[in-house]
Amino acid sequence: MLSKRIIPCLDVRNKKVTKGVKFQNNVELGDPIEMAVAYSDGGCDELVFYDITASAERRPIDIDMVRDVARVVHIPFAVGGGIETLDDMYRVLLAGAEKVSVNSLAVKNPGIIAEGAKIFGSQCIVLGMDPVKTADPRFPSGYEITIRGFRERTGMDALEWAKKAEDLGVGEIVVNSVDADGTRDGFELNLTRKISTNVHIPVVASGGAGTPQHLIDVFNKGAADAAIIASMIHTGEYTIKQIKDELVKAGVPTREKW
């Protein structure tokens, strides 16, 4: 049976992994390469790196870091942040990343994900989305897409955007709840389920992981195919092994040996 994936997220700023709450107040946690190796050896199923300042600093993604990760990590990893062109995608994939994650760029230029999927294959193109809860009736799903780290609202409905992205050819969608991000109070189950049960491609839940029970819930109730974790392992409070032991006990299909 296909296992549910646990994906540590490494937000990288100035070559260091950092973690903030709701995209603010970042603290430094360590070296991305060392952390990637430790998590891979520790049993994570995949990794994702976001070069979180590349966009704001209007510079291309840190390719040297991607290359260094690819040399030592032999499980799939995705890279996002600072991807502006097809050439940026190509360089990231050629450096050894399995997937490239686009977010704001896809909103501004949906054609680029269609082209990227056609050239590099759908499985390489991940759409990251940052939906925020809204009571505004213009948004049938109840969630509006934001970009640029919650700084800008787009007027786009989250579910409509997910379906459109699937049609454009993305291979996977990361649903990062702005409301839950960094809170460690649990994933946004309603949002995750809504997206995951209405598209045919894998959906990765992101934002809010604090305990193993949160992961059990997002797989069982949120219908997620994979889940991103950050603070709960970055702080050392849990190991991936501890989380996976709980998933196994709860009957969630899990990769138990690595």
Binding site: R5, A70, I75, G121, G171
Partner: protein, 207 residues
């Protein structure tokens, strides 16, 4: 020297880096002569079957690949590389493939909404028989898969490992003399995948 065949079917960096990590000399190449002179050949790839077959024809790689298999040199297919060594694929409205292994490649079909296509992630491989390339790897180990089509081997004698997804049990690893081929990605399957590649790099091509 292992030749990693480059036929414009996706990114071969991860295969090269995995081999370099375990200290095995390799070269990414589309030169028929380099493939002919290599001790062993890895035939990887991601993408679509029809374009792969077109590229193999244009690059004049079909004969070197067939020769490599016929010569008895160890040969490893991965993912799309594995699919196109079968006789036929349902992809792109139906494509005739290289036909080194009997069987066809079919699309996952499911009415189960929770079952996503492509299969993306880690799934177990249950051994149908022993094979030198899987030596030291526990039965039912998990490997990393990304695919919408699966190999349906018409001859059980060639099935080395099986995996279940979308209601079918398919040949996730096949072996025929000096040829072995996996639907999963050993280069992305962590320590266990590296072990498979290491086994392949030492294999004499006999079963």
């Amino acid at each position: 020297m292992i030749a990693i065949v480059d036929y414009k079917a996706g990114n071969l960096t991860s295969v090269r880096l995995a081999l370099e990590h375990i200290g095995v000399a390799c070269e990414v190449t589309n030169d028929p002569e380099r493939i002919e002179s290599a001790d062993r050949v890895i035939f990887p790839g991601v993408g679509a079957a029809a374009e792969a077959m077109r590229n193999l024809q244009e690059l004049k790689l079909l004969d070197p690949l067939k020769d490599a298999v016929a010569s008895g040199r160890p040969f490893l297919g991965i993912c799309l590389g594995t699919q196109v060594i079968f006789e036929h694929s349902e992809e792109d409205g139906g494509v005739d493939c290289i036909g080194l292994v009997p069987g066809a490649v079919k699309r996952f079909v499911t009415s189960d909404q929770s079952c996503k296509i492509p299969q993306m992630g880690w799934n177990t491989v249950e051994f149908a028989r022993e094979h030198p390339v899987f030596e030291g790897i526990e039965n039912k180990s998990e490997f990393y898969f990304v695919h919408s089509y699966y190999p349906d081997s018409s001859d059980a004698a060639y099935v080395v490992g099986e995996t279940e997804y979308a209601g079918v049990r398919f040949a996730s690893a096949v072996g025929m003399n000096n040829l072995v081929a996996t639907q999963f990605h050993p280069e992305r399957s962590g320590r266990i995948g590296l072990r498979l590649l290491e086994n392949f790099s030492k294999w004499d091509g006999r079963c």
